[in-house]
Symmetry: C2
Subunit: 156 residues, 2 copies
């Protein structure tokens, strides 16, 4: 995980860890390895394959009020992504770009974000069937928020 | 920070911390206390007051490719929010709802999200002037991502 390509820049100093995350559940997806995992949510949707969000028992009361049809922002932790790349040269962008200008999983805090549609919800069992996700099977979940079109889209 | 209202539910067990975050910088905003801080990004925009994202020196190479006009997803850490509320009864929603159905700062992982427009950028100085933000002055930043209208808006 420590190689870099021409044009990439690595962080030389260690990351200064300042806050801690708990996992609220995990994602069950059809993507069991990086080779087949869609590169983004749009590509994931095009496969027509749904996914399931599993919420751990302690956190299930927090699902109250989520109904089928809801659009949610799911935040997840891409636990096997490297965290030291500041500039990257992805295959689809050979000129390279800074990490904060890319949606690559490799980032100082590897938090993934997906705006997903709830198809079915079982609050007691802690299961939400969603339309699609571009995360590997088993990826830990860290937050769910209601999507708000006015605030989260065009930026006003 | 430990009181609860009628209808609210608290997590009884301690949070099981599983991952660590680094801070990539901080937000400079006009909001120095909760009483005047806008309740959401839309309200922040309506004040007409811009804000500044400060990126720490180590992380500035990761800004390469961000230009004025860009729409970014800023993730920030609401470090003084409580983390034990599973169900909440906000003033504007007296019937209450689960934390994952609310955008309240109080959540198991107090990560805030704002879709913001870059007005000016100084990559060397690590400063991005943005149109608005609904976060308190001094809030730590944890990630910046390019916003992608097709993936981040209507959910396909």
């Amino acid at each position: 995980m420590s190689g870099i390509r021409a044009g990439e820049i690595r962080l030389e100093s260690p990351l200064d860890m300042r806050a801690t995350l708990c996992f609220i559940g995990h994602i069950e997806s059809p993507w069991t390895d990086r080779a087949t995992c869609p590169r983004n949510l749009r590509a994931a949707r095009e496969t027509g394959q749904p996914a399931t969000l599993h919420i751990a028992p302690d956190f299930r009361p927090a699902l109250d009020g989520i109904t089928p049809g809801a659009l949610l922002v799911a935040l997840y932790w891409m636990h096997d992504a490297r965290r030291d790349l500041l500039r990257q040269v992805p295959r689809h962008r050979p000129e390279g770009a800074g990490t904060f200008a890319l949606r690559s999983p490799a980032r100082p805090n590897p938090i993934g974000m997906g705006v997903v549609r709830v198809l079915e919800i079982d609050p007691t069992g802690g299961r939400l069937l969603i339309d699609a996700i571009d995360a590997l099977d088993g990826t830990p979940l860290i937050d769910l928020k209601p999507h708000m079109a006015l605030a989260d889209c065009d930026g006003g």
